[in-house]
């Protein structure tokens, strides 16, 4: 004898079938996300903030740029999350920094490259222009922080313009024109920076940070750069390293050392204590941007703004104009 289905059991059956069906339908046909593309824009996914910035400067209204790494994120350690991978797969063009900067993204980028045009903005930079660290601090690879040298940054600008031109030939001329405009601004900053560094006395031209990120900046503007750790922040400092830096600072009477936004303040404080022990006093300058840009809605959220801020901060720290301990 079969029971007649009661009212409640009927509804239960409907729910069991209906709810998943509705969900699946919705998932299949749901409207695209807020990152939705306009018909006349193409989507660019950039890894670091810097790359994202130059992409925006050149692409302007024609591109939608998504940046994977936010402000303060360490590109050496960054691991792609699932939503990152989705962004990459849905892109029309992928731009990354290169020279092994995005260490943990190598595989993901390799996979993406099979289906989507992927370019390192550093592709066009000749090997000879890159800095090879004397020690093993980047596992035998060159220093990847090329963007601190405006001349190299202009090369990256060209690389991006060409990548855009290939992806969207209709607007190729515009991209190249935007690139030229941008390069003018970049070189103007370069000239201004050179002027600023004139204010720093010869023997004070030592930049000490907890991170060997500023090799290119030092080379361009005649600063000696010393860091506590290797270029990749995943390595841990040893006691000897701290002592060495303290010796260097004291011997050269450096007035300020700098904390980057992506490195623990403790490390810098430990150096300060060591220096004080040697009878010198070094201030902690304001934070510098080493691996990333600042927050998106601040001036330091662009390369130009970031460079201006960094150079102002370094100069005032080294000349002793502005002390923050």
């Amino acid at each position: 004898m079969t029971e007649r289905p009661t009212i409640s059991s009927r509804w239960r059956t409907r729910a069991l079938i209906g709810v998943p069906a509705i969900l699946l339908t919705w998932a299949a046909f749901r409207p695209p996300d807020s990152n939705s593309r306009d018909e006349d824009k193409f989507t660019v996914v950039a890894t670091t903030g810097q790359v994202g910035d130059v992409a925006r400067q050149i692409g302007r209204d024609h591109v939608n740029v998504t940046t994977l790494m936010g402000p303060g994120v360490d590109p050496h350690l960054f691991k792609a999350s699932e939503s990152n991978v989705i962004d990459l797969i849905e892109a029309d063009l992928i731009l990354y920094s290169g020279i092994h900067l995005e260490g943990n993204l190598a595989e993901v980028l390799e996979q993406a490259e099979k289906q989507i045009p992927t370019t390192a903005v550093t592709e066009g930079i000749p090997e000879a222009d890159l800095i090879m660290p004397l020690d093993d601090s980047f596992y035998g690879n060159p220093d990847p922080h090329f963007w601190f040298d405006p001349t190299l940054w202009t090369m990256a600008t060209d690389q991006v313009a060409e990548a855009f031109a290939m992806a969207d030939p209709a607007n190729a001329e515009e991209y190249r024109a935007n690139a030229e405009e941008y390069k003018v601004e970049v070189m103007a900053l370069d000239a201004w920076a050179a002027e600023r560094f004139v204010d720093v006395p010869e023997q004070s031209r030592i930049l000490v940070t907890a991170h060997d990120a500023f090799g290119y900046l030092g080379r361009r503007y005649g600063l000696e750069v010393a860091g506590l750790q290797g270029i990749s922040t995943s390595s841990e400092a040893g006691v000897r390293d701290v002592q060495n830096i303290a010796d260097l600072i004291t011997a050269n009477e450096v007035k300020a050392i700098f904390v980057e936004s992506s490195v623990p303040r403790r490390t810098i404080e430990a150096v300060q204590v060591a220096v004080a022990d040697r009878g010198w006093n070094v201030a902690i300058g304001d934070a510098l941007y080493s691996d990333a840009l600042g927050d998106a809605d601040t001036p330091e959220g662009t390369w130009l703004g970031m460079m201006r801020y960094n150079i102002d901060t370094i100069v005032s720290g080294l000349t002793g104009e502005d002390h923050t301990t």
Binding site: S81, A237, R240, D241, V242, D295
Partner: protein, 317 residues
């Protein structure tokens, strides 16, 4: 005090400055405390509880950062301590109310908490706050950057932990040796067990900065195992274990100051491991070498007797 130590230590090029002093002080405090507290964990066959608790601290550190936005070590460590204690509570509950073994429970707590911590860490990395990093330092530690105020905190915690250990020594002793008997005289195993776990959590807190979450367990286990080989009383073992921890702290710190790019935390752990290896091999009576030697001597002894018996015709024939 340290200033009177000669600059050339055994002819090694050691630079005795404030950095090395602070690092040594911190490592010594940590080594001593974790050696002593670890003795009880090892004897209770719960060595891995320290591992589970250390891993359980990670989500607390991340949450402390996410809630307060501070990078002040003290606040982060309090967060770590709280989630470590939560892990302890979960362990106790699982132990009491479920049939799964302690080992399984440890594995579960370790994985779940640590996994959650990594999840939070990844979220923080993806966030827009430009001051978020430094949290992943707690995974591997950053011993070389121990500051004077860190040493102060560590000293306060160590005094508390060792004070409690001394005051409750006999309760811990009877509980570790014979929990059933202990319960029968009113020393409640859950209570004292929880106390021991709390001491472990506090010790782990001061260790997180030095050797980090992953290596912390070795400082809890190695000195205790080493000490066990040399001594025959509990008090002796605890004190010797503290001493071994101290030695490991000093050696690791000094070693790290001799060569560039030698991270301090792992060096301390290596020093502790060397001490264990030497103890297991060379301790009298319990060491491998000693056992081997006495076995050989005995075998020779028996051979001699049997040969003499044969010679004198003492046989079944």
């Amino acid at each position: 005090m340290m200033a009177i130590i000669p600059l050339a230590l055994f002819g090694l090029d050691v630079s005795w400055d404030a950095t090395l002093r602070n690092v040594i002080l911190g490592s010594v405090i940590l080594g001593m405390t974790s050696g002593m507290v670890g003795s009880f964990a090892v004897l209770r066959r719960q060595s891995l509880i320290g591992d589970a608790l250390a891993h359980a601290a990670l989500p607390g550190i991340c949450l402390a950062f996410m809630v307060t936005g501070t990078r002040s070590t003290e606040v982060l460590l309090i967060g770590g301590a709280l989630s470590g204690l939560l892990g302890t509570a979960v362990l106790l509950v699982i132990n009491r109310w479920s049939i799964i073994s302690m080992e399984t429970a440890l594995g579960v707590v370790l994985s779940v908490f640590f996994g959650f911590g990594i999840l939070l860490l990844t979220r923080v990395q993806h966030g827009g706050d430009a001051a978020q990093s430094g949290l992943d330092r707690f995974i591997f530690g950053q011993a070389a950057t121990i500051l004077p105020r860190d040493v102060t905190i560590m000293l306060v915690v160590a005094v508390i932990v060792l004070g409690v250990l001394a005051a409750c020594f006999k309760e811990l002793k009877v509980l570790t040796f014979d929990p059933l008997f202990a319960a029968s005289i009113g020393v409640s195993p859950p209570l004292v067990g929880a106390l021991l776990s709390a001491l472990l959590v506090l010790t782990i807190m001061i260790g997180l900065q030095t050797v980090g979450v992953i290596l912390m367990v070795s400082l809890l286990i190695a000195p205790a195992v080493a000490a066990r080989q040399w001594t025959s009383s509990l008090a002796g073992m605890v004190l010797l274990s503290g001493f071994f921890g101290l030695v490991a702290g000093v050696s690791g710190s000094v070693a790290s100051s001799l060569i560039d790019r030698l991270p301090t935390g792992p060096m301390i752990v290596i020093a502790a491991t060397v001490i264990v290896a030497l103890s297991l091999l060379f301790a009298p009576e319990r060491g491998v070498l000693s056992t081997w030697r006495s076995r050989r001597t005995r075998a020779e002894h028996f051979r001699t007797i049997l040969a003499a018996a044969d010679h004198h015709g003492v046989s079944s024939r």
